[in-house]
């Protein structure tokens, strides 16, 4: 039985892990490799690194730290941040990342998803979607969310974009519900449930985790494959072994035995 994945997300800025609230006011949380190792030891199933300023600054991700992480980490990790071409993706994958995630550049040029899937297979290609509910009640995508002064609202509907991304070759979707991000009130179950309906590839929930029940609900109510969280882990408010123990008690299939082996 496939387990549900717990995925700490590390936002990277200038070579450090940072965290903001609602994508603003970033504070430094620690060194990349140090945090990556800590989460690996605690039983994280996967790590995601977002070079949050790469896309707004129009540059690709810094490969130096990707290689440093790949040398020490023996769980999968995904890298996101301003990857605009097959060549840039290849460099990140060759540096040791298992997957690459594209967000703003895929909105600029949706064919990028087709090209990446053709070059590396859909299993390497994650499409990240930043979504907000507009005043008319519709969920629509946002672009360049790493820098609030550059964030743009698009007319594209979130679910419509999710369907197109899969058709073009997305092997996994990370849906970041911006309305709930960083405020720890729970994942946006309504939006995730709607997304699950149209998402036939693995779906990862992002934005809003604050309590262990939030993870349970995302898995059992919205049916997501993985749950991504940042501040709740970085701050030490929640420990992954306890979270996984709780989820197992609640009937969610999680990978537990590795953690015991590492202690």
């Amino acid at each position: 039985m496939l387990s549900r994945r717990i995925i700490p997300c590390l936002d990277v800025r200038d070579g450090k892990v940072v965290k903001g609230v609602r994508f603003r006011d970033h504070v430094v949380m620690g060194e990349i490799v140090e945090l990556a190792l800590r989460y690996r030891d605690e039983g994280a199933d996967e790590l995601v690194f977002y070079d949050i300023t790469a896309s707004p600054e129009g540059r690709s991700v810094d490969r130096g730290w990707v290689e440093r992480v790949a040398r020490v980490i023996d769980i999968p990790f995904c890298v996101a941040g301003g990857i605009r071409s097959v060549e840039e993706a290849r460099a990140v994958l060759h540096a040791g990342a298992d997957k690459i995630s594209v967000n703003s550049p895929a909105l600029e040029r949706p064919e990028l998803i087709d090209e990446l899937a053709a070059a590396f297979g859909v299993q390497c290609v994650v499409v990240g979607i930043d979504s907000m509910r507009d005043a008319d009640g519709e969920w629509r995508v946002r672009q360049y969310t790493g820098d609030p002064s550059k964030t743009r609202s698009l007319s594209r509907g979130t679910l419509e974009w999710m369907i197109e991304a899969q058709r073009r070759g997305a092997g996994e979707i990370v849906l970041n519900c911006m309305d709930s991000d960083g405020v720890r009130k729970g994942y946006d179950l309504e939006q995730l449930t709607a997304a699950r309906e149209v998402c036939s590839v693995p779906l990862i929930a992002s934005g809003g985790a604050g309590a262990m029940e939030h993870f349970r609900d995302a898995f059992t109510q919205a049916g997501v494959d993985g749950a991504l969280a940042a501040s709740v882990f970085h701050s030490g408010a929640m420990a992954i072994p306890e979270l996984k123990g709780y989820l197992q008690q609640q009937g969610v299939v999680v990978r537990l035995q590795e953690m015991a082996a590492n202690e």
Binding site: L2, S3, R40, E67, I75, F120, G121, G171
Partner: protein, 196 residues
Amino acid sequence: MSVVLVDAGGTNIGSVRYALQRLGVDASLTADASQIRSADKVILPGVGAASPGMARLRELQLVDVIRSLTQPVLGVCLGMQLLCTHSEESDTDCLGVIPADVSRFREAPGFCVPHMGWNRLSSAAKHPLLKNLEEGDWAYFVHSYAVPIGNYTLASTDYGSGFSSIIASGNFHGMQFHPERSASVGAKLLKNFLEL
């Protein structure tokens, strides 16, 4: 001990190499036939699709080289599928050193394709490659095509139905998951391969 990684363009080569380094083995990356033939152990990594994977091996003139190897060989993920007879992916004839046919996962409610994430290994045979493997050990998978269960199956995994997660035929071995990304279980299995 000399270990070579066949440079067939797979994107996980770096990760496999680092995983071997963590076990104290410095593997060289090569597409050179004589270096591959003389190695103690040969690993065929691979992420991508079957057809370009085979095209790359043909281009490097490594098809017959790999087929004729007698030392322990390990294919990882796509590398394992390339060791099989045929893949449904773009109707591709593969190396044919493990008598298995690779087919696509059927999508079903609750079973997304690709099969992506941590799943359990269940031993199906006794083999030194499985030394210290415990029933239900977790491994990390990312794939859309799989090898059915057959007499080459050393371990199986359940995803809707069972499929082969570790296979072997003679000196050729394959792991469908990514041992280089399967934490201490993966390290244990790679170590077992190095000790064959």
